[in-house]
């Protein structure tokens, strides 16, 4: 989440104008007839709607991570009512300035009883997730919690670590856990008391490293101070260097003073070419001595290629009448790396960028795109082939309702780009399609791939818009295939909540709910996704998952993978019915064998090989995705036979 007290209400004004002006070609907005519309509000008893998935567990936030007086969180400030263009919004006589007459101080009001904790409820926001073995780490503005998910339907709290500073995004690498800290209250010693002096050696803003070899008692081993703090971070492995791990730190907040941290400067590049703006932090972590981790580079990835000007990308502002206003690109919000293909996708304020990270310390920009519907480039996800990127737009910063019936479906949405010759080429938009209320903060947020072979499928968090699973195999025409949603936290006021992140891990979907704790889901089969496809996705097991650090998914040789391809080919009529029947029968026979040497086995193995050859022939006559899937199916059958022969 980006803090967004600022309202980009102009967008709403313009939208109203667009709708009024073009009644005939009304732009696409959210559905108002969806089962997700009109769910009952509530903290623990909200109405729920789901399709093609099932919630199997919920565990509320542990003690120490909420205010017992107001467990659901705090209300967000009211938003200026929308007014059509031309009707000036109140000017100085706005009702909000109630009780005042121009030129006179406000009449004293009766203040509500002051509750000191109320002011700090955003301090307990759940944030991003990371996974290792059978544990999930749930980041929080106040620290992090570790849960044992050996039985996904019965998550158990294993440790609560208090260490405030927000956003608390977490990543894990072996026995090291990394955490982002940006707020000025962050302390080196994890204290909750804040920092009482303007310049202090006790303040911490940057990336913390914890040793989690004793999961029940993490220990802080390093804290790398950065000028803008760390809003998010991304772990990067260098395939050529096993002794070091790298961290890309993205700071989006104000720059601290040089008195507090030498070298920091918040000046315009024209005034100070060494400004801390217009860069990311590259931290080197020597794995044998993580306590010596330090910044090794601040690459100028937004620089103009010709002039060398540091701010070479989006200069801020809008793209013309009726378009979105985006901030100047002087920061990345989040970077996703895919080391196996040597690429990173940066969601960087006013731009989406593609980086060559074959030398992780010196990322090189390959391309940068803008989008007239995007307000804030927030995060990025590659597909598994590395041929597409899904960028999200966090319009309104995550604390605003941006999925209402009046909000456009291509604002605050995902933009899907194809990667063609290492350049980004726009293909389509996706937005969770059900209209949400004014009381639900909702916009595109964090998600991960679901490893269904042969398709590009992602599960994504939409804050109080719930979670949505969608297929973007056709990047121009994404399709929703499953969802879960709750009613708002409160019926009358907007209390910031909902899913920060929803990620697939080893067969289940885990959601970090800002206010309601963690949820665990399983997918159920439907016309959009078969049980075989779900089984094939479940075959993929990871020992570690940091969503911003993508690794190529490789499916084990299993019959479920073959059956998933058959289902897909059947859906697109890309396989003859008889061939499909034969393949399924052969896979069933193969599953009955323990080895390829037992009685009757040779015939089954021959059949698998023969079918593989026929499928390759079919592939030669097919085109597009059918051809790809036929070849993948042939390879799966061969692999299955080869494995049995071992």
């Amino acid at each position: 989440m980006r803090s967004a007290t600022t309202c980009l209400c102009l967008t709403a004004v313009l939208l109203a104008a667009i709708i009024q002006g073009r009644a005939q070609e009304r732009p696409a907005t959210a559905s108002t007839t969806d089962p997700r519309v009109g769910l009952k509000a509530g903290f623990k008893d909200a109405g729920e709607a789901s399709k093609n998935m099932e919630r199997i567990a919920n565990l509320p936030k542990p003690e120490g991570f909420f205010d017992p007086k107001a467990p659901s969180g705090n209300p967000a400030p009211p938003e200026r009512p929308e007014t059509p263009e031309g009707a000036p919004a109140g000017a100085a006589g706005e009702p909000a300035a109630a009780g005042t007459t121009p030129g006179a101080p406000a009449a004293p009001r009766t203040p509500p009883p002051f509750d000191p904790v109320v002011a700090n409820r955003p301090g307990f926001t759940n944030s991003d997730l990371a996974f290792r073995d059978h544990h999930v780490f749930v980041g929080n503005y106040h620290g992090f919690n570790t849960y044992d998910i050996e039985r996904p339907s019965k998550p158990k709290l294993s440790a609560s670590v208090v260490c405030p500073g927000g956003q608390g995004d977490v990543s894990v690498h072996g026995n090291l856990l990394f955490m982002s800290v940006e707020q000025t209250r962050g302390r080196l010693d994890c204290g909750t008391q804040g920092v009482q002096t303007a310049v202090s050696a006790e303040r911490f803003r940057g990336v913390r490293i914890f040793d989690i070899s004793d999961m029940s008692k993490p220990k802080q081993v390093a804290a790398i101070q950065t000028c803008r703090g760390s809003h998010t971070h991304t772990l990067v492995v260098d395939p050529k260097d096993k002794t070091n791990l790298y961290v890309y730190g993205s700071g989006t907040s104000s720059v601290r003073s040089a008195e507090e941290l030498a070298g920091c400067s918040g000046l315009d590049p024209k005034e100070d070419p060494n400004t801390s703006l217009f860069s990311i932090d590259v931290i080197q972590v020597p794995l044998a001595a993580p306590s010596t981790a330090h910044i090794v580079n601040r690459p100028r990835i937004f620089a103009d290629e010709k002039t060398g000007a540091l701010g070479g990308l989006w200069q801020g502002g809008n793209h013309g009448p009726g378009t979105q206003t985006a901030r100047m690109t002087n920061q990345c919000h989040d970077i996703t790396v895919f080391s196996e293909i040597g690429l990173a996708a940066g969601a960087c304020s006013g731009n989406g960028i593609l980086l060559d990270i074959s030398d992780p310390v010196h990322p090189v920009r390959l391309d940068a795109v803008v989008d007239s519907h995007f307000a804030y480039w927030h995060s990025a996800t590659f597909n598994n082939d590395g041929t597409k990127v899904v960028f999200t737009d966090e319009w309104g910063g995550g604390s605003r309702p941006r999925c209402r019936a009046t909000d456009l479906l291509n604002w605050g949405a995902d933009a899907i780009f194809d990667i063609v010759d290492r350049k980004l080429k726009f293909a389509g938009y996706y937005k969770m399609p059900a209209a949400q209320t004014d009381q639900e903060n909702c916009v595109a947020h964090n998600g991960s791939l679901i490893p269904v072979p042969g398709r590009d499928i992602m599960v994504q968090a939409w804050y109080q818009g719930g979670l949505s699973v969608f297929d973007f195999t056709d990047s121009a025409k994404p399709v929703e295939i499953a969802y879960f949603d709750r009613g708002p936290l409160d019926a009358k006021q907007l209390i910031t909540g909902g899913y920060w992140s929803t990620y697939w891990y080893n067969g289940n979907i885990y959601g970090a709910e800002i206010a309601r704790g963690i949820d665990v889901f399983k997918l159920t089969p439907s016309e959009y996704l078969s049980q075989n496809e779900i089984d094939a996705a479940t075959l993929v097991r990871s020992e570690e998952l940091n969503t911003q650090q993508q690794a190529k998914i490789v499916w084990p040789v299993g019959s479920a993978v073959g059956r998933a391809y058959v289902d897909q080919l059947t859906r697109t009529r890309g396989i003859q019915a008889e061939r499909a029947r034969m393949v399924k029968a052969a896979l069933d026979h193969a599953d009955d064998l323990r080895t390829g040497h037992e009685r009757g086995a040779p015939a089954v193995l021959e059949q698998l090989d023969a079918l593989a050859t026929q499928l390759e022939g079919d592939a030669g006559a097919a085109t597009g995705r059918d051809a790809v899937r036929l070849r993948a199916l042939a390879a799966t059958l061969k692999g299955r036979a080869a494995k049995l022969r071992q």
Partner: protein, 184 residues
């Protein structure tokens, strides 16, 4: 549990201690910042109301609308922030009443009067120059806030001040470009 500084040990703490944010509360400087910023923002809104009558440029009108919308929204947010904390909420004009101390970057009465008399391209120039100075003052206020002991710690004010810094920096850049265009 609560870890220590790097290299130090982790200790067990109680739930009460864990949520004790009593020392991360707003300070007098935070309140002064919010009260001052209301007046500061109000002047921007007032300048935009002049713009509506005096500029003929569509670009300027769009800019004005954007500034007005964001500043009004933030004024509301600041009023609510003060209200929740039981603090006095200044009226929108309190800060440029006769004799009041101007917040950094604010236009003087004379400068405002001068702006109110200008028209067309001359108005646009004065508006952009004035608003750049005005927004620059907001950045100064944020810098001063973070340079004050104990200020800007509470989560909400940290977020707000960071946003003001980012948004106004962006608008300054934008207006600088418009001003250069105007002077061509």
């Amino acid at each position: 549990m609560q870890p220590g500084a790097p290299g130090e040990s982790t200790r067990i703490i109680s739930a009460e201690k864990a949520i004790d944010l009593s020392r991360v509360q707003h300070t007098a400087a935070d309140v002064k910042f919010m009260q001052g910023m209301i007046g500061h923002h109000s002047q921007a809104v007032e300048m935009v109301s002049l713009l509506k009558a005096r500029s003929t440029s569509e670009n300027m009108r769009m800019l004005g609308q954007r500034i007005e919308v964001s500043q009004l929204d933030e004024i509301k947010m600041m009023q609510r922030w003060l209200e929740v904390r039981g603090q006095e909420i200044p009226g929108p004009h309190a800060m440029h009443m006769h004799g009041a101390t101007l917040m950094p970057g604010m236009l003087t009465e004379e400068e405002m009067a001068h702006l109110a008399e200008a028209k067309g391209a001359e108005f646009d120039r004065l508006f952009l120059e004035g608003m750049i100075k005005h927004h620059g003052g907001a950045l100064t206020m944020v810098d001063e806030l973070f340079a004050t002991a104990g200020a800007g710690q509470e989560v909400e004010i940290f977020s707000f001040a960071s946003d003001v810094d980012a948004d106004q920096r962006m608008e300054i850049d934008r207006m600088g470009a418009m001003l250069r265009e105007l002077q061509k």
